[in-house]
Symmetry: C2
Subunit: 119 residues, 2 copies
DNA sequence: TGCTATAGTATCTTTTAGGATACTGTAAGG
DNA sequence: CCTTACAGTATCCTAAAAGATACTATAGCA
C-alpha cells in the first residue's frame, strides 16, 4: 500500500497551493519580497478583502507567509515569504513551466478543431 | 501587468491536478502504465464509481489520460497516460518532494508545541 | 434459473469554496 | 467636522465539488 502514502504527500503540497488566489499571492510575494495588505489587494484585481484575508491566514497558518503588524494608525501590516516558504518556489516553477506547455497544447488542439470543422 | 499572466499559467496546471482523486489516479497510472476501471477503483479506497468516472473523464478531456474500450461483455476499459500526459510527471514529482519536506516541517512544529505546553 | 463481474448512469443530498455587502476603529488632512 | 486610508470582521448567499445510493445491460458459470 505504498501508493496511498505517496498520494497523501502530493495532496499535502496541493492543499497549500490550491485556493483561487494563493498562487498569485505567492508569486507577488516572491517577486516583491514584502507587501502590505492593500498593496496586495491592488495588485490582484477582482479579489475581495475577505478572500485576501482568508487566503493569507491560511498561508500564515502553514508557515509559508509571515505577517508583521505595526502598531500604527492607520494600521500597517506587511506580508512576506518565510524562510521555510521559500522552499515551495520550485513547485510553483514546475507548475508555471508545465502550464506554458499546456496552453500551447490546448491552442494546437483548438486550431486543429477549427480547421477540421470549417471550410 | 505581467504578474497576472504568470498567475494564469500556474492556474492552468492546477486545474489539471486539482480534484480530490486526480493525483492518486495519475500516480497509479504512471506506475502501472495500464489499468482497468475496477482495478483503479480497488486501488483507491474510498472512491465512488461516480467520482472515479468523472475524474477520469476530466483527465481524458485534457488529453492526459487515454481511454480504450474493448467491445466485450462484461465490459473492459483500459486507462493509461497519453504521450502528452507524461509531460506532467515533473510537476507531480516536484509536489511529491516538497510534500515530504512539508510533512517533516509540520511534524517538527507539532512536537515543539507539545513539549512547550506539557510538563 | 439465478448469481457474478464489469463499467458505467441517474438522482439526490451534503459539504465546501467563494463572493457580495455592510460594518468597525482611528489618526491625519482639508 | 467630514472624509480618506488602512486592515480588517461579520453576515448572508450562491455555485461548485463531492458523496450516497440505486439503477442499467449482458455474457458466462454453477
Amino acid at each position: 500500500m505504498e501508493k496511498q502514502a505517496r498520494d497523501c504527500q502530493v495532496d499535502e503540497a496541493l492543499e497549500i497551493i490550491v485556493g483561487k488566489w494563493k498562487p498569485i499571492i505567492l508569486l507577488l510575494l516572491f517577486e516583491n519580497k514584502v507587501m502590505r495588505f492593500n498593496e496586495l489587494k491592488r495588485a490582484i484585481p477582482g479579489i475581495t478583502q475577505k478572500m485576501l484575508t482568508t487566503q493569507l491566514r491560511e498561508l500564515e497558518e502553514e508557515d509559508i507567509v509571515n505577517r508583521e503588524v505595526y502598531a500604527q494608525v492607520p494600521p500597517k501590516v506587511e506580508y512576506s515569504i518565510t524562510a521555510y516558504g521559500k522552499s515551495i518556489e520550485p513547485v510553483l516553477e514546475a507548475m508555471h513551466e508545465w502550464s506554458t506547455l499546456h496552453l500551447e497544447h490546448k491552442k494546437n488542439k483548438d486550431t486543429k478543431y477549427i480547421t477540421t470543422h470549417t471550410r
